[in-house]
């Protein structure tokens, strides 16, 4: 213990060029999920520096937040639907002071006051999106219309999956006709069996930037997030986003403030900043996901507002399923099979 104290003194003496800036916002977010411009404009307007750290799965984000719970590392995180309820129930979040968030009333009524967080006491929707099929039409002959098409022999070694346990199993479950939120061990095992048949075709898992394997020519077909598909199409026009017959996976990512956040004031300011119609529109235009901010949608560039990839039509949403919290027991079963799946050759 003495040594620790000594090292501590030493360390304090040695630091100095560390992070002693007066105002810092520690934002913990998905990779490539916030335009640089937004961060810069926020800093310009408020003088608060944004430290942007990234994760590539809800599990990693959750584990890290839990790990660093005591040490108060992050001010703002962006979990998906089902993790909002999980974290709220486990008392990991700080209530959001609505009086500091001006634009809240502009949010799509269908995306607030959900079961995951009644009355939005702990979360404010950031973006919503879908996970569907990506097809590189320059390399794929014929139609790809369903998740089940991925199992086609012609795609051997050319399939890309997101590195996301829930999403990949969602696909497996839907192909078998089950709900993507299944908690039935039998169904999950069947989905695992089905997915392990797909494994020889799988080239890579990627949730840091799912568009990249397509752009780099490593994969021709597979899963992708709609925003990534939109961004990818800018550089590779042959990349198409397809709504699979079994239904897309829909999700909503929300801002939450960890219970021990060192700077909740800045976190509120940031949420407020993002909810300005102009900023919401800028984000949606730049990274291709749909903004839940209706005022933002109004000022959206027409090309983006009419892009079916970003803003699906009612027919696109047939069979679509929102991801839900499935509880820790089911999650453990998923986790076990996920490990096995990813260890398969």
């Amino acid at each position: 213990m003495k040594k620790l104290a000594l090292a501590g003194i030493l360390a304090v003496g040695l630091t100095g060029c560390g992070s002693d800036d007066p105002q810092v916002l520690n934002l913990y977010n998905w990779s490539e999920y916030m335009p640089q411009e937004v961060l810069e404009r926020f800093t310009e307007e408020t003088g608060i520096q944004v430290v942007y750290t990234t994760y590539d799965s809800n599990e990693a984000m959750y584990a890290r937040l839990k790990l660093l719970d005591e040490s108060a590392a992050y001010d703002l995180a962006v979990p998906s639907t089902y993790y909002v309820s999980k974290m709220r129930q486990e008392d990991l979040l700080m209530p959001i002071d609505r009086s500091k968030i001006e634009g809240f009333d502009n949010l799509d009524p269908e995306l607030v006051n959900l079961d995951i967080d009644p009355d939005n006491q702990y979360s404010v929707p950031y973006l919503w999106g879908t996970t569907g099929l990506a097809v590189d039409t320059s390399d794929v002959d014929g139609e790809v219309t369903a998740w089940a098409d991925l199992w086609d022999e012609r795609f051997e070694g050319r399939v890309m999956l997101t590195n996301d346990m829930r999403e990949v199993f969602h696909v497996g479950l839907r192909v078998l006709g089950y709900s993507g939120n299944s908690t039935d061990p039998q169904e999950i095992e069947e989905a695992y069996e089905k997915l392990s048949e797909l494994m020889p075709s799988v080239r890579t898992f990627n949730s840091d930037a799912p568009r990249m394997p397509y752009l780099e020519g490593e994969a021709d077909v597979g899963m992708i997030w709609n925003g990534e598909a939109v961004m990818g199409k800018d550089t590779m026009p042959s990349l198409e986003y397809v709504y699979p017959e079994e239904g897309i996976i829909a999700w909503l990512d929300s801002f939450v403030i960890p219970k021990n956040a060192p700077n909740p004031e800045a976190a509120h300011q940031f949420i407020n900043f993002v909810l300005q119609p102009e900023i919401s529109a800028l984000i949606s235009e730049d990274i291709g996901y749909a903004t839940p901010n209706l005022a933002g949608r109004d000022v959206l560039d027409d090309a983006v507002a009419n892009d079916r990839s970003s803003y699906p039509s009612a027919t696109d949403m047939i069979n679509a399923e929102f991801q839900e919290d499935i509880g820790d027991d089911a999650l453990q079963i998923y986790a076990k099979y996920w490990e096995m799946l990813k260890s398969g050759r």
């Binding site: 040594k3 839990k66 898992f205 398969g344």
Partner: protein, 285 residues
């Protein structure tokens, strides 16, 4: 009077060293052992009922597969390192002295460059649109790009590339010590090249071989970032599984048990290494 003067310095040094090692080496290792016999807890990571579930899980055929696969990857890596490194170290020991130093320096330089960056450079080379495919296609050796990135082969190449110097350096040390008189004696007694190799050179370089294996095999099972970058994020190594248990799945007892297995494997290798050294000591004279 001298002893009075020397006491405080001695005490201070010993307290500092002991303190550091007890606090940052012994305690953490005991913690891992402790965690491995506890129960997974979704809230607090680990909780009390002591049991051996984690170890049982380890020997579950499903997870055993992961270990065997990891062992396979690491063994292939080690074998390739040995195949490249053994003749390399031999050839190196034959080079004139003054040039040897320069060559060893050149061997170490890549090791001083960030390993992530080097792994990334391999990605540039192995990608479908990458340099190797482009080169092979432009000379007409292949007309379709080969799929090299995101395969087990790519991961093994990455591991070999990162770990090769660790195989070569201990091998070089034993070749450098190889006693010329024994070789000459063997030759004088009429032994052929092969016989000399099998009966003299191989046993005498065995400690180096084992040291090299030790320095390559175990790290090759732990370097999780190589499969992440070159293997398409598959769990090809035990290192990936351990990392996932701690940073994703939050099954600490299992992760701890897996890492204890790794440590035990290392201990076994070290034991073999010591044994071989002792044998050489007896036979060599």
């Amino acid at each position: 009077m001298r002893s009075v003067m020397q006491q405080p310095f001695r005490t201070a040094v010993l307290v500092l060293v002991w303190g550091w090692l007890l606090f940052l080496v012994l305690t953490p290792n005991l913690l891992v052992i402790g965690a491995s016999v506890m129960t997974r807890d979704p809230g607090t990571f680990i909780s009390l009922p002591l049991n051996l579930d984690a170890y049982r899980q380890l020997f579950n055929p499903l997870y055993l597969d992961v270990f065997l696969n990891s062992l396979y990857m690491a063994t292939m890596t080690t074998l390739i390192c040995l195949l490249i490194g053994y003749p390399f170290a031999w050839a190196l020991s034959k080079v004139p002295r003054h040039r040897q130093m320069l060559l060893i320096f050149l061997l170490i330089v890549p090791f001083w460059t960030n390993s992530l960056v080097r792994t990334y450079a391999l990605k540039l080379i192995l990608a479908t649109n990458g340099l190797l495919n482009n080169a092979l296609m432009s000379v007409g050796l292949i007309d379709q790009p080969m799929q090299m990135l995101y395969t087990e082969g790519a991961v093994i190449i990455g591991l070999v590339y990162l770990l090769l110097p660790f195989m070569i350096l201990p091998l070089y040390a034993v070749f450098d010590d190889l006693r010329e008189d024994l070789l000459r004696a063997s030759h004088d007694l009429g032994a052929g090249r092969l016989a000399t190799f099998v009966h003299i050179i191989v046993p005498m370089t065995l400690p180096g071989v084992l040291a090299g294996i030790m320095l390559v095999l175990l790290p090759a099972m732990g370097l999780f970032f190589v499969p992440d970058i070159l293997g398409g994020s598959r769990n090809l190594l035990v290192g990936n599984v351990i990392k996932n248990q701690f940073l994703d799945a939050r099954n600490w007892p299992f992760g701890a048990a897996a890492s204890i297995m790794l440590t035990l494997a290392m201990a076994f290798l070290m034991f073999a290494h010591r044994l071989s050294k002792r044998r050489i000591g007896e036979d060599g004279v």
